[in-house]
């Protein structure tokens, strides 16, 4: 077993070769920069550019639309390997692919797909998904951002909060309501371009972790967009974003998995460097960490494989995200304990991972919401 990684029977040679390729890239391009990017809170432009050359911002998208032409499972492996070294890279990638490219790819029309996806897949453009609002987090269907049809244009008014890649996004997916009294049946999804009059991205959230990942507020003031920017059908936007989140969950699960693996890597290294392997206390902790990471891996890979079979992954995605995000918290917490006081310093990556990993229990549906989703899938509404 290399570096504490458990191979999964759900993977195969082809996908493991892809993982090797991603891992080599990460070691070359991300490892030297990751710590400084966090300290300086810098957006990883150089890395995005290099990824873009390989179309790695659009791994599961067909080459017809400028993607890498691989599958979801490969994409999940990439998120995992990037997150293993940098949670910020992982979330930047996950937002771009799962939350921006994917809704366009599965719900956009041909013109939208050709127009937006290629430059998102090659990193020329960044994207963001404007769903969450100040008063609409878990209750995303309670959006207060309004849209009205005026003179053949959609006019948007409102704001979005906690939007990954928001400051830099050239392509913005957003949800807005035509009529709040219609609840989730009154919501449409749109694509907006940076520079559209009435749209601005403001403020940079001061976060616990993931500080090289950009998180912004989006403001819409009489923002006029053409009718062809509607994604899918009018008032059927709720379905667009729910489907998007189903897949997005798996990517956040992969983010958590990668972070957990990174913490495990560091813990194993520390145990070996400090000759702790004979300590039963250490054996106990490391064993639990390996079990957690392995279990998380199997759940994530299972959900990713189901998605590639075009099956509905609402249940499996929610389970995988819920478990993996909580596992990452336990694993990073244990890794810190193993290292004692040193684990609290920046000499080791674990305090970073500990801060980064907390987001996985919140973003793209809190663990509490995941549990409700899971229960509803089995018990019914």
């Amino acid at each position: 077993m290399q570096e504490g990684r458990i191979i999964s029977a759900m993977s195969d040679n082809e996908h493991e070769r892809f993982r090797e390729e991603v891992r080599e890239f990460v070691i070359e391009h991300v490892v030297p920069k990751a710590a400084d990017l966090e300290t300086n809170e810098e957006f990883p432009w150089d890395i995005i550019r290099e990824m873009g050359k390989k179309r790695w911002l659009g791994i599961p998208v067909s080459q017809e639309y400028g993607g890498a032409g691989l599958d979801n499972f490969s994409y999940i492996i990439a998120v995992e390997e990037f997150s293993r070294v940098s949670g910020s890279m992982g979330i930047t990638l996950a937002a771009q692919t799962s939350l921006v490219i994917w809704p366009l790819y599965s719900h956009g029309d041909e013109i939208q797909k050709q127009k937006y996806i290629p430059s998102l897949a090659n990193g020329e453009h960044m994207g963001c998904f404007g769903l969450t609002e100040n008063n609409a987090g878990s209750d995303a269907g309670g959006t207060e951002t309004m849209v009205a049809l005026e003179d053949g244009y959609y006019v948007i008014n409102g704001s979005k909060r906690f939007i990954t890649n928001g400051t830099y996004a050239d392509t913005i997916i957003l949800t807005a309501s035509h009529d709040r009294s219609m609840g989730t049946h009154g919501i449409s999804a749109f694509v907006i371009e940076k520079g559209t009059a009435g749209f601005t991205a403001v403020g940079k959230e001061d976060k616990l972790g993931l500080r090289a990942s950009d998180t912004a507020e989006l403001l819409f003031e009489d923002c006029k967009i053409p009718r062809e920017n509607l994604i899918g059908e009018e008032k059927k936007g709720f379905r667009v974003f729910m489907d998007t989140l189903d897949g997005g969950r798996i990517s956040i699960g992969a983010l958590a998995l990668g972070e957990a693996q990174g913490a495990l890597d560091a813990a194993i290294q520390y145990a070996q460097d400090h000759e702790l392997k004979k300590s039963q206390m250490v054996q106990n902790e490391i064993a639990d960490m390996i079990i957690e990471v392995s279990a998380a891996r199997h759940m994530i890979y299972h959900a990713a494989r189901l998605k590639d079979q075009k099956l509905r992954v609402t249940l499996e995605g929610a389970m995988a995200k819920c478990f993996a995000s909580e596992a990452a918290m336990r694993v990073s917490s244990k890794a810190m304990n193993l290292m004692g006081m040193e684990g609290l310093t920046k000499r080791f990556p674990v305090e970073q991972i500990f801060r980064d990993a907390k987001l996985n229990e919140i973003g793209e549906g809190t663990s509490e919401i995941q549990r409700i989703v899971i229960a509803r899938q089995v018990l019914g509404r």
């Binding site: 616990l208 206390m281 004692g340 006081m341 920046k346 500990f354 919140i362 973003g363």
Partner: protein
């Protein structure tokens, strides 16, 4: 068995809580950001007698007991965990070993200074290669005429960069293992003593956590604390005692997390209802409260044992620390969940509680170490 505080204890609790809410809480975010040692807080605490509670009255202290100290430390930590640590280290890790093991002249010399908080105290035990196993320490002390000459370094010393009085442990005979360790009272102006780098830690960021350097540091021989070779016993007893404080600190952070969660859950609405009306949230609040009460009672129990003069309380102290840090990790993690996306930003204090609690779990022995201490006691 009386589970309620008496009127004096209640008074302390109310007084310190009011102080913490008005003076400590408003500053807590700023000092976490700037990492500046909160001298303003310390001075105010000193004026209220909270920096000298357990120092005997004859030396200018409050002459109070550990139960009172625990109550005060919990309330201070609820407002500002960094301040709570500073107060605890000053009293339990520095003043206390002098009270317990010092001779009259040492007590007369150092305790009044500490009672007036003219100098802050610190405890120099941990080394780069001796964290969980202090008997492996490499700092040496060699008697040379009227002085002990100390050589070596200490690491992760709370209050290290701001303290004037340090209890430092060094080995006077490495071949004797832990029986060769001695304790010394070192002043920052002693020749050969210097403060090294200031650590950049996950939490408890305003506690001046530093390295200490001893380069032929000359310590007058009358500053030997206790006997040569008694150092390890002094260290262990002091750590056992200070675990009462750490337990109280962790309970304070937990309480802050619970109260923040209760407050926010009443205000925040989702799907048309305040989130406190959802059973999942209620379950979290209930679990936080139960764990906190359990931990607090364990802290009170060991504080009372100490105050009653019980000599051996390692097990109970370790249990208090273990229970309190586990409780606090649960509470802070769930508090961020209650706050959702907002909890992940520095706009709210819960992410600071989270970082501070994690440090608390590791300071003075991780949970894993506490379990070993407890087991040793059970098997002795």
């Amino acid at each position: 068995m009386n589970f309620t505080l008496d009127s004096n204890e209640k008074l302390i609790q109310e007084m310190v809580r009011e102080f913490a809410v008005n003076e400590l809480e408003p500053m807590a975010e700023e000092i976490d950001r700037s990492c500046e040692f909160p001298w303003a807080n310390i001075k105010k605490l000193a004026e209220l007698g909270l920096m000298s509670m357990i120092i005997p009255e004859e030396f200018g202290g409050g002459g109070m007991d550990f139960l009172s100290l625990s109550i005060a430390i919990e309330e201070i930590s609820r407002g500002c965990a960094s301040t709570g640590v500073i107060v605890a280290v000053h009293q339990s890790l520095c003043a206390y070993p002098i009270i317990k093991f010092g001779n009259e002249s040492q007590k007369k010399k150092y305790l009044p200074i500490m009672a007036k908080t003219e100098q802050i105290g610190a405890f120099g035990l941990t080394e780069p290669n001796a964290g969980s196993d202090p008997a492996a320490m490499e700092t040496t002390a060699r008697l040379d005429g009227d002085h002990y000459i100390l050589n070596g370094s200490k690491r992760f010393i709370t209050n290290g960069g701001e303290a004037g009085i340090f209890i430092v442990f060094a080995t006077t005979d490495k071949s004797l293992g832990h029986k060769g360790v001695s304790a010394f009272i070192v002043e920052k102006d002693f020749p050969g003593f210097s403060v090294g780098k200031h650590e950049d830690l996950l939490g408890l960021r305003a506690t001046s956590n530093c390295e200490l350097q001893f380069d032929d540091c000359k310590v007058p021989k009358e500053n030997l604390l206790g006997d040569e070779g008694q150092g390890f016993k002094i260290a262990l007893h002091t750590i056992d005692t200070s675990r009462i404080d750490i337990g109280a600190q962790a309970v304070g952070i937990s309480q802050a997390a619970l109260e923040a969660s209760v407050k926010y859950s009443k205000e925040r609405k989702t799907f048309g209802k305040p989130i406190c009306e959802y059973e999942m949230i209620q379950a979290k609040l209930a679990e936080m409260a139960t764990r906190i009460d359990g931990a607090r009672l364990l802290v009170y129990r060991v504080a009372c044992m100490k105050d009653e003069g019980v000599q051996r309380f390692s097990k109970e102290a370790a249990m208090a620390k273990y229970a309190a840090s586990e409780a606090s990790m649960y509470c802070v993690r769930e508090a961020i969940q209650v706050y959702g996306g907002y909890g992940y930003t520095k706009d709210y204090p819960v992410e600071r509680y989270y970082r501070d609690a994690k440090c608390m779990e590791i300071y003075e022995g991780t949970t894993e170490i506490q379990k070993i201490v407890i087991a040793r006691s059970l098997l002795a």
